[in-house]
Symmetry: C2
Subunit: 482 residues, 2 copies
């Protein structure tokens, strides 16, 4: 148990067989609905149901129903339990006796609900400690694995599919799940998700040890309300960040927030400044909003790390350039000073182009009024010059999207893809425009090609700032000269 | 000129006749396109064109073409000039001689383009000072007035309509305009817009004096890169904020940002900390991102000001409540302590409800599984109790939106409308969900009914924090006891 190679969590994410215990009424929030979501997202392993009245149901969505855990023939890797709290300890005990290595307690009504629930939760912890069976939760939606379609979430979701990709999410709130976020709309590249809930046993440290070894995960995004064992957590974080970037949103930072956290998962927050320093030393990127927890990993997962902290920005108006420069200063980036060769190259594109940020708006207008064959040729040449500059470590490029641009998407996406492929430095995109539908469609198309797209310029720049900071820290963690 | 009652800017926004001088080629970025946009957005006043070759065009989109400004019969209230920079001073002079009170110089290529342009810009300033004709720009898209359909913007826009409403935008970048933002998608409530560009004459102070008297404007949102005459600006800001809220995004805050601003509009930024203190004393709400410049005014324009700074939050998960409590602390709000009467009322809704933030998720799940006639009755009762609490000054309510919720929009919107109507304290909404289309559709429906909707919880809470701060400051500015 609590192994540092993460193998003890393998059964949570990669089970060959699952049992789901609870009500089989065909409504959300039940064991029935967990099975429905396992099917919905395409899990192909064996699924068994456990319910006191098997004769009433026969088979449920293809799963045989058993009265008791020991009745199930053959091994079970993962159990998902969603029954009234008082019945949960006996069920978990039965799973442990059967040798089920991983149990998720989906039910609510434990430490977050008062002293009676806290006592029940304590019993779950005891069973886990004694048996070696690991317990995730209670008060959780459990896990998602896009590689095998595993999704143990009890609520309804109309989410059609999840994009397989490199970002793992681990949280202390169900709000992270695919039933609460438009991950399909975004083509968000997910490897794994888990909601640790009240953390009676499985902790954020365990998950980090597991994810550090997980080949599908290239970035982890972690939402925390408290840290159970700070020493072990920071050790796990350091092991993780020596390999891949880790983005952390720690809530309950303020005393009202900490009070709210206590009443919600029973979490006790520590001193935020100390945690902040410790996270930085452990090489973790700290973000401060839910929005950033989703947005920052995109640049980290899709793009290479920047060799330094010198940013170039290409915008369509001067005012946007000023906003980008302010954001860069706030994100620890410097505005790159172009080499004479780049300045000559830009002057060939247009005498109106000069320093960084590059305001290409007037030049784009010119080329449009000349009705050039490729309306983006000026942008392409400019971005190509800027990306090739040895004084430039990372680049944010602006794109406009409106309904009239939709037919040009293939041209735009190919152009951006070509620009990104030509260099080993990160590039991201800020999209603005007059139609949210067209903006989102372009973002999706770009992200399908590995180009991170943002709807606010400040976050695009900040994501590159975090990437530059992490690149520097990782070199230090790896003991190389930065 | 420079009157403190703002009457000197009336002709920019409320002209009965407009002349547009420049190329009549049927492409964006020309005088033709300015006339096209005036028609597109429904401006019904007289529109004349000025072009050296009137015989070549005859009428353009219903507008008669004149060779020279003095040829136009009858008075002209507003001129929009988009000709090569070297030709602009003579045109502005001709407008002044004809007695045109307001000229917008849309052309680029002035102070932002080098010393030659700066000299031309200086001449425009001289003409304005000498003649009393006011000049906006150069390097601007000019103005928008949703009350009369006036929109002098030269670029292409597919924006279909603009929602009439109470927020005025004034900026130093064209990025604020309806050709660059999905204002229709958002049903964003706009009164006026103007882009001051290089500010050769008309300044932010002039605009604030005008907007302070404008009955259509109930909130102003101001983007600034520099402040021309700080004394006069702060005086105008104070006059404005004594009546209505003013939200300011000052960019070029950092030294790289200030450098970028200099190369863009020739603006010189001052010491940011001094400006910050001065803005606070003048009662202006300062925001730090472009996103907030759009989002914060919504709560200010749609909702009453809060009587105090005690926030209640209703969320669907405990984790969201913690995020809200952190955001509240950062925004100068306190989490309200409910009265015993409210706590009893909440206990009647469900024994699972207690303190603030209120996590209604588990109760909503219960009522859903009981397949109640109104799936939102628990939310409605809870919000009603919380809004009525005398310890609560402002409320953020969470709503979920997904494709399966769309048929319930009328029920939801009526419920929220009813809740907001019952009280004289502000209410805003945070929407999350699995479908961006459904989330945006719900936001639009709510905003059409005067309910500000946000897609991130932190900004919803921060907007209420700004409202509470402004309410306190306004009482001080008005000399009443707060």
């Amino acid at each position: 148990m609590n192994r540092k190679d993460g193998t003890d969590l393998k059964a949570f994410f990669e089970p060959e067989s699952v049992l789901v215990a609870g009500s089989l009424r065909e409504v959300p929030g039940t064991a029935f609905w967990v099975i429905r979501n396992l099917r919905h997202f395409g899990y192909a392993g064996r699924v068994h149901a456990v319910n006191p009245a098997p004769e009433k149901y026969g088979k449920v969505l293809g799963s045989r129903v058993y009265a008791r855990v020991p009745d199930i023939p053959g091994p079970v890797d993962l159990a998902a339990v969603i029954t009234p709290p008082s019945t949960v300890p006996a069920l978990v005990e039965a799973c442990a006796e059967k040798g089920v290595p991983a149990v998720i307690v989906l039910s609510e009504g434990f430490a977050e609900a008062g002293s009676e629930g806290a006592a029940l939760q304590h019993r779950l912890r005891e069973i886990a400690r004694r048996s070696g069976t690991r317990v995730m939760g209670p008060n959780t939606f459990g896990v998602v694995n896009t590689a095998n379609g595993l999704a143990t979430i009890p609520p309804f979701t109309d989410q059609e599919r999840m994009e397989q990709g490199g970002v793992a999410f681990c949280s202390q709130t169900g709000s992270i799940g695919p039933h609460q976020n438009p991950v399909s709309d975004w083509a968000y590249p997910i490897s794994k998700m888990c909601d640790l809930g009240n953390k009676c046993d499985v902790s954020e440290a365990d998950v980090l040890y597991y994810l550090a070894e997980d080949a599908h995960t290239r970035v982890a995004a972690l939402h925390l309300e408290d840290v159970g064992d700070p020493t072990r957590f920071l050790e796990a974080a350091r092991r993780f960040t020596a390999r891949k970037p880790l983005v952390i949103l720690k809530t309950g930072r303020t005393s009202p927030g900490a009070r709210a956290a206590r009443s919600h998962t029973g979490a006790m927050a520590g001193d935020d400044r100390i945690l902040d320093a410790a996270l930085r030393q452990a090489g973790a990127v700290r973000v401060n909003t839910w929005h950033e927890l989703w947005e920052v990993p995109k640049t980290l997962v899709y793009q290479p790390l920047p060799p330094g902290n010198r940013l170039a920005v290409i915008t369509f108006t001067g005012g946007q350039g000023v906003i980008a420069a302010d954001a860069a200063a706030g994100a620890g980036l410097e505005m790159a000073a172009f080499t004479p060769s780049t300045l000559r190259g830009l002057a060939r594109v247009s005498p109106r182009l000069g320093g960084n940020p590059v305001d290409i708006g007037p030049v784009m207008s010119d080329s449009r009024s000349q009705s050039s064959a490729n309306p983006f040729s000026a942008l392409e040449k400019t971005a190509s010059e800027v990306l090739a500059d040895s004084n430039v470590d990372c680049v944010t490029v602006t794109l406009y999207s409106g309904d009239q641009i939709v037919p040009l998407f293939p041209v735009i996406v190919d152009m951006m893809d070509g620009l990104a492929r030509g260099v080993s430095k990160p590039l991201n995109v800020w999209i603005y425009g007059t139609s949210t539908r067209a903006m989102q469609a372009l973002a999706r198309r770009l992200q399908e090609r590995g180009l991170p797209a943002y709807f606010d310029l400040e976050t695009a720049v900040r994501a590159l700032g975090h990437a530059a900071w992490y690149a520097r820290v990782r070199n230090r963690l790896r003991g190389t000269v930065s």
